[in-house]
Structures are given as structure tokens and as C-alpha cells.
Subunit: 327 residues, 2 copies
């Protein structure tokens, strides 16, 4: 099977369950704010990963659907709250929740999304022992996501961020949910401990690769393809692996010029492009791309613990997609 082309029906099913999960919410405003991002679409990578991991260990994909949908809800809840914290006004072409509904509604709807995610998992037809494990993964993931967001906020004011610190941050802020998806999917599929562990590591590694590639896309893509403004990370002074690596390697006027543009919200487009070129010339974009590719390779090696099947092949394609995608 190829990814993601062969999973269009499944994405539709995920979307149905996702939107259906808001039916229980009584208040119209609260419901609308909760559904604001989910209704705007998305690739649904986390639910897809959960269901395909479930199949790869011999399970029926629907058994992992509630857990996958819950992860998507958690992902959306963190987007809502992060956007408030970062004071971002738009996300992928639509107003952020707080821009559309106000900060109180954004905080509240995020909380409700999080609570509802647990209910969705618990609603599923899974035996108690596995439910406990799934809920543990969900709770632990959000606690770690909060630590990751904290690191990300600290980076904004940090003079110096090492590549190790960057990797730790994206592990917490991004990889944790992919790890949860693959591990939870394996649990739903009744995987033995060895396969559950290998799939958890598969998810973690591909999550890391995903995030580094996301940072590269901000530099290499054009706005139309990427679906959001490019070179934004430079404007916001985001300490991505590309930037962290470049600052470790650069000396002299190039370093000075890069530093003067990083985080300068008023930097003209030419300065942003020049900064991108500096990052390119010092080899930092190439370095990050290689790191991402290496992580995906390592991720795929984990799959040797899982029996060959078309679903395992799909997981391989999934991992490759993480660093091939243009959006």
C-alpha cells in the first residue's frame, strides 16, 4: 500500500469520528471553538499512524481509531493553547481560536478538547487492562508536551541553544505524540511487548524526523505549496536545528548578518532571503536534511521487529513521507 494515497477513506472515517466527538457538548460557542481547528482539515497523521501500527501487528484498524482520534484532539488542544501563548493570529490560513473567539474561549475549549479526548478513548471497545495503558500514555504525553512547550518558550529568550537541547525539545513537543500513536496502535492490536516497544521507538524517531523536516520546509518551500507563510521561523527567531547548527559553525560577518535578521519582526523580505542563503551556504540546511533522513532510516530499522505485511510496507512509506512531503 502507498501512503497517504491509499488511506483517503480512512481519513474520512477519522474526520467523522472526530467531529462526532463534539456532539455531546451542550454549549454552541464552546462546541464551535472546540471544532474550529478540527473542522479546518489536516493530514490526520497521528490517527493514521495509530491505525496502521495496529494493523501491522495483526489488529483490526478500527480498534485503534478512538485512541487515534483522541491523539488528534490532544494535538488540536495543544495548538489552541500554544497559539494563545505565542499570540499568533492565524494558523494555516484561518483565524486562530483566540483570534476568532477570544482568549477565554480558547483556553476553555482547549481544556474541553483535552477532557473529551480521554472520554473518547474510554468509550472504545477495549479491555480494561489496555484502556488503562492507553490512558496512561495519553496523560504522560500531555505532561511531556507541556515540558516541551516550556523549553520552546525558554529558547526564545535563551542566548545559546545547543543542538542537543533542540533535539530534547522536539522530542517532547513533537515526537511524544507520534510515539504515543504507534505504541497505542500496537497495544490496540494486541502486540507482544517486543513489537510494542519497537513501534513506540519507530514513532518517536519518525516524529523527530518530521519536525526537523518541518523546519527545513519553512526555509525551502513557497507559501502556496507550504500552506503557511515561509521564512516565518527566521522572522520569529525560532531556534531550529538549522539555525542552531549554523550558529555553531558560523563566524565573522555572515554570523553577524544572520543574528541581525533572526527574530527581527520588521526584517524585509530580502533580509530573510539573505539569512536563508547564509544558512544554506554554511551547510546547515543540508545538515538538518541529513539528520532528518538518518532518523527516518533508523525508524524504519525498528520495523524489523514486526512481521512483513502490506501494513508494514505502509509504515515504511509513512516514514518516508515524513521527510518527502512538501506541506
Amino acid at each position: 500500500m502507498t501512503f497517504p494515497e491509499d488511506y483517503k477513506d480512512r481519513v474520512q472515517k477519522i474526520n467523522e469520528q472526530l467531529m462526532h466527538s463534539f456532539d455531546v457538548i451542550q454549549d454552541k460557542n464552546l462546541k464551535a471553538a472546540m471544532a474550529h481547528y478540527p473542522a479546518a482539515g489536516g493530514k490526520r497523521l497521528r490517527p493514521l499512524l495509530a491505525t496502521i501500527a495496529c494493523e501491522a501487528v495483526g489488529g483490526e484498524p478500527n480498534t485503534a481509531l478512538p485512541f487515534g482520534v483522541a491523539l488528534e484532539m490532544v494535538h488540536n488542544f495543544t495548538l489552541v493553547h500554544d497559539d494563545v501563548m505565542d499570540e499568533d493570529q492565524t494558523r494555516r490560513g484561518i483565524k486562530t481560536v483566540h483570534a476568532a473567539y477570544g482568549v477565554p474561549e480558547a483556553i476553555l475549549s482547549g481544556d474541553a478538547l483535552f477532557a473529551r479526548a480521554f472520554e473518547v478513548v474510554l468509550d472504545s471497545d477495549t479491555k480494561d487492562h489496555d484502556l488503562v495503558k492507553l490512558v496512561e500514555i495519553l496523560a504522560r504525553s500531555v505532561r511531556l508536551l507541556a515540558e516541551g512547550q516550556q523549553m520552546d518558550m525558554d529558547f526564545e529568550n535563551a542566548k545559546n541553544v545547543t543542538s542537543d537541547e533542540y533535539m530534547k525539545m522536539i522530542e517532547l513537543k513533537t515526537a511524544v505524540l507520534y510515539q504515543a500513536a504507534a505504541q497505542g496502535g500496537a497495544i490496540c492490536g494486541g502486540a507482544p511487548k517486543s513489537e510494542e516497544k519497537a513501534l513506540a521507538e519507530f514513532g518517536r524517531l519518525m516524529g523527530l524526523g518530521f519536525q526537523i523536516w518541518d523546519d527545513v520546509l519553512d526555509l525551502l518551500s513557497d507559501e502556496e505549496t507550504f500552506g503557511k507563510p515561509v521564512l516565518n521561523d527566521i522572522r520569529n527567531g525560532k531556534k531550529t536545528l538549522v539555525v542552531v547548527q549554523a550558529l555553531e559553525d558560523l563566524k565573522g560577518p555572515d554570523r553577524t548578518e544572520l543574528l541581525s535578521t533572526l527574530g527581527n519582526e520588521k526584517a524585509p523580505k530580502e533580509a530573510l532571503i539573505r539569512a536563508r542563503d547564509i544558512l544554506d551556504e554554511v551547510g546547515a540546511i543540508d545538515h538538518a536534511t541529513k539528520v532528518a533522513d538518518g532518523l527516518i532510516k533508523q525508524a524504519k530499522e525498528q520495523l524489523s521487529a514486526v512481521k512483513d505485511s502490506k501494513h508494514k510496507t505502509a509504515l515504511m512509506a509513512f516514514a518516508d513521507f515524513m521527510v518527502k512531503r512538501k506541506t
Copy 2:
């Protein structure tokens, strides 16, 4: 046993488990923000209720301690977020979390408190089937709390709020956690379904009584005893049962005068006192007190489903305390 005097050691134990639950948090700022309210003390009514309900059905109180602590964490998480939404700068004599640490930290630490609450429950030595029920109660409670906070926010802009709407709001915003405490405690104690149901209803009714009495205290107490500014609800235009009832009954100049003071942040102290006197003279304070007393009476009647014991006596005293307390 008398309440709360005989439970000082237990409160200390609750506080230890509560503060201990933050040990796992790596980031110092995040940990400090999470612990800000819990470290400031509190009556720990929800954990106390959980553990005494557990004893009243024949259980060992420690088995309900993690669930009780989790409820206290959820309670604190909602305080942190509600304070951001309401833009309150102080809470019971200390700075609110966002006033002390900033809005982003307050949102994030609230999220982390919520996530950690689930982990604390799951860490407890309870069989899987009961764990699933406890987690379900916790998730459902937070979803309903969010609906209650939404109603409360809507009330601020509502021209007319009925006493039915007010009761629905405090059911969601306050009673839900007391219901959860008593029901969860019963589950931890291995109660049969009939006792679990009766205790859930006991908690719900005493939670309603608690909130109505809280609103009355704002009008009758002095700042030193109450531990927070009094007549604040009038200044903030809060639609309490007292106010809602008074507006249903009042006509003429008294009504006009009350309406001109309600929600007037610049109202002088004399105007606030005059508004309080109007509420008193129309019988609305007395009415609310009677409603609270009636709810506590109904709550205690639920306990007929539970065998007599000193713990049942303690629950009776607990219920009475809800409308006798001065703070």
C-alpha cells in the same frame, strides 16, 4: 468523629501526596507555577470527601487518596485557568498564577496539572476495572466543568438569568467535583452500586449547598474572616442565587439602585453595602440560605443507603460544615 477537626493528620497526608506529585516535573518554572496554588494551602474538601466516602462504605481511606489528590489537582487547574479568563490578579491573598508567572505559564501549568492528575490516579493500587471508572469520572467532570465555566461567562453578558439557570451552572461548575469525590471514594471502597449512587447524589447535593453558601458568605462575612475581599460578587455583577432571586422579586427604586451597583467596578463601599441591604431586605439572602440548608438536608437523607458508622457520622458533619463554615 467531628469534621473537619478530626482530619488534620489526613489533610497533612493529602498535602504531602499533592506536593509530591510535582516531583516528576523537570522544568523549575513549570513546577513552581503548578505548585503555586496547591502550596498556598486550602481545606482539601474534595480529597477529604473521597477518603471519608471510601471509609463509609467499608474501605481503607488510603485507597481513595490518589483519586482525591487528583481531584484537588483538577480543582486547582480550573482555578488557574479561570483566573486567566476572569483577569483576576489575586486569589486568597496571593498573586494569581498568571499575575506571578505570566499568562503563557499559567495556561501551560494548568494543562500540566490536568495531565498529571490523570497520572496520579493511574499510579494508584486499584484494579483496572475501577481505574477505568475513576478516569471516566475525572474526564467527564472536567468536560462538564468547562460547560459550567462557559455558562458562568455567558451570565456576565446576559440581561436575565433565572434561578434554574443559576442552579444548572453551579451544578456543572461546582457540584460535579463533589459528586466525583464522593462517587470515586465509594468506588475505591468497593461499594455496591446502590451505595455508589447514593454517595454520588450526596456529593452533588452538598456541592450545590456549598456554592450557594459561598455566595452568601461573600455578602455576610468580613474580609478578615472570609480570607478574600467581601461584596466582590456585587462589584463584579455576579449572577448569584441571591441576586437572581432578588431581581425576580424587586420592583421600583430598590431594583434600579441594585442594578446600578451590580457590576459597577467603581461603586463606592457605601453603594456595595446598600446593595447588600437591598438583597437582605427583599429576603433574597434568607432565601438562598434556606435553599442551601435544604440541599444539605437532602444530601444527608441520601446517606440512609449507607450503614451506620462513625464515618457516616463524619459525612453528616461534613455536609453540615458546608453551610456552617465562615471561610
